[in-house]
């Protein structure tokens, strides 16, 4: 173990050992909680339980030491769906870091699921026809290789039961910050040809689209009769009736285990 790694591990241990909090720290943590509610909870959940962003009450994979945590809070992880929210004063930054460190470190509450069984459910339900895990699978939907690091179990569950309720946004460089990814579009060209697919990219004058058969299209907007962007819609089937409850628990446990999250 290199010195840096060792120091990181030590800090992590200290972070865990710091419960219950010493009194002088409590005010700082409380201030951090307020800031977190305003800036972070919409993605990481009210008490860091996770959602669109990963839960923060497990052992952190990126924010392994204090410096890394402060950098993430200050700069975000812009190409991975965590924008930089705003500049913080040093005091605010310390408070925010203290709060994130104060979150209990416990094994992920991924339900009662069994990840091994979940893997089989994943195969049986045909998820792989649209998703890649470790190089294997279809490409209509997003790659799930590291999904356990990016999303919390609650979010994963919702993505399966009601895909349109949790649409990914702005986590990749293309189409870019804040843009809906996998946005379904319906296009009719001036000649009357119809194309339905997912938006790959767009600028003020053109749009690039991929259809369910992986065919790529490019259009000048001036050449289109109709361009409907179907916000709030998903091309993923919902599994409300397709998966038994137990299967769902296992499936979520499997997805949550992907990418090395504990």
């Amino acid at each position: 173990m290199s010195i840096e790694r060792f120091a990181g591990a030590l800090l992590l241990l200290l972070g865990v050992a710091a419960h219950p909090l010493p009194a002088q720290n409590a005010a700082e943590v409380d201030k951090g909680r307020q800031l977190f509610l305003g800036m972070c909870s919409r993605c990481h959940g009210a008490e860091g339980g996770g959602g669109e962003g990963p839960s923060l009450n497990r052992s952190l994979t990126r924010a392994t030491d204090d410096q890394a945590l402060r950098t993430i809070i200050q700069e975000g992880i812009p190409d991975r769906g965590m924008p930089r929210t705003r500049r913080l004063s040093n005091g605010e930054l310390s408070a925010m870091a203290a709060y994130v460190r104060s979150l209990g470190r416990h094994a992920e509450v991924a339900g009662q699921g069994n990840a091994e069984k979940g893997k089989a459910v994943y195969q049986r339900l045909g998820c792989a026809s649209c998703h890649v895990i470790a190089g294997q699978g279809g490409i209509l939907g997003p790659e799930l290789t590291n999904i356990g690091v990016r999303r919390a179990p609650g979010y994963l569950r919702q993505a399966i039961l009601d895909p349109a309720a949790v649409l990914p946004r702005g986590g990749t460089d293309v189409p870019g910050r804040g843009f809906n990814e996998y946005l379904p579009v319906r296009i009719v060209t001036r000649e009357g040809r119809e194309v339905n697919g997912l938006r790959v990219n767009e600028d003020s004058f053109s749009i690039q689209v991929r259809d369910a058969g992986s065919q790529l299209y490019s259009f000048q907007k001036a050449d289109l009769q109709k361009l409907d962007k179907e916000f709030g819609k998903s091309l993923m089937p919902d599994y409300k009736t397709r998966a038994a409850d137990a299967d769902l628990d296992d499936l979520v446990a499997y997805l949550a285990s992907l990418g090395g999250a504990k």
């Binding site: 929210t85 705003r86 500049r87 913080l88 809906n180 600028d203 003020s204 004058f205 001036a222």
Partner: protein, 535 residues
Amino acid sequence: MRIERLRAWICAGVCLALSGGAVMAQVPYRRIAGAESDPSTWVTYSGNYQAQRFSLLDQINRQNVAQLKPTWMYQMRHPGIVETSPIVVDGVMYLTEPPSTATALDVRTGRPLWTYTPKIPSDVIVIGSPPVNRGVAVLDDLVFFGTVNCHLIALDAKTGIVRWDTMVDDNKKGYYVTSAPLAIDGRIIIGISGAETGIRGFLDAYDPKTGKRLWRTYTVPAPGEPGRETWGGDSWQHGGGSTWVTGSYDPDLHLLYWGTGNPGPDWNDDVRPGDNLYTCSLLAIDPANGKIKWHFQFTPHDVHDWDATEIPVLFDAEVQGRRRKVVSMANRNGFYYLLDRATGEFLTAVPYVKQNWTDGLDAKGRPFARRDADPKAEGTLVYPAITGSANWYSPSYSPKTRLFYHAARQMAGIYFKGDAEYKDGTAYTGGGGDTKNGDEASGAILAWEASSGKLRWEFKLLTPPWAGLLSTAGGLVFGGTEEGNFFALDAENGKPLWQLQLGGRVAANPVSFAIDGKQQVAIAAGSSLFVFGLP
């Protein structure tokens, strides 16, 4: 050739030059003041002192613009965001590269003639914007530009050799320069950035020959000066009010028009009760001595970072039935303003994007600002967003169509109030903001009647733009998008006539000039500068 003869020969040439015979000062003041008489040049930041960013050239027009082809490209030697607006005169293009390099290119080929990069300390403080530079000014045979460590430098226009290098103010306190200087008769006017570090803003004038400071006008009054009562306690000391976008000039009225930026701290106003003059204002300044002749404050007691550092555009028009000398501004706060530029009298203002921070304006143009739109610890959703509905990038006014063209940003922001502790050279913002970006935001090129603000046409953009506009006598409006399109619209109706994807964000202003009698249009995109002409 023997040495002596060579020497005699050189001497003859130099002596001839020194005696003034064939070689004249390149760009005397009267050449800038009369920019209209030679539209083959682009002699000052906004094209003319009225800051109209309008070209009288009409070779490229509605009929043939679709045939535009690249003439040459130049790739910046220095990485970073390119916001430069080139100057073109006498066969040379002068531009800046990020963060603080000045370069001269042969305008026929794009080949560098010289480039100069000052030594910038590695611990340079640039808070409040990326380290950009928007261009140079030329006067006589000198080229002037500002640097991120807050120097103003004069270079020999032919060689790039330093004539003088003056420190404008202390970068350790957060002062820096991003804007192009303005060259007028016997004065180089330069504005500064730094309000996010709690500086006290000012505008400076320097002697072009020596680099000696001629005057400094603070944008935040000290004790004993008028306007001091608009600042609670000692807050004026760190009151902000940067001057970071090049202003305009009326040689007849002998007045400079310069916008000022936000008060400090930006989003936490606890320490600065009052209107906070002269932040978020337009100042009319006598260039002889720097005296403020009049001021107009667009956003009193700003809490949204709505700098009035947009281009003040000058034109004459009939406004509300009376002939006026007008100064106009498409302000960052969502309104288009018309003022009488002789007196500063408020004439009218019209909202041009969705806004929810004020219940309109009173008869004198003062907003009825809504306190429920103030930043809060948990965030407040406000239109427009922190970067505003306008920003530093230039609008355009066409004396032919009498339309004002503006690239509008249509976006909401979430404003957070946070801690503000003043410490030299560190952020003194008191919060910050997030934006509702991506599919939730958009942009538009808007054309409105300059004399009234009445909308004439709109061309929609996918995202809020960060690029300026150029209108031309050829009936065109050129502009750029965040996604990398450079485009031309019909100036009369906004119809798209040509566009090209340049492969990088367009975050600069277009200019037009001629090479050997052929009209060109230039724009920076990504890390390159592109010049286009007809085949």
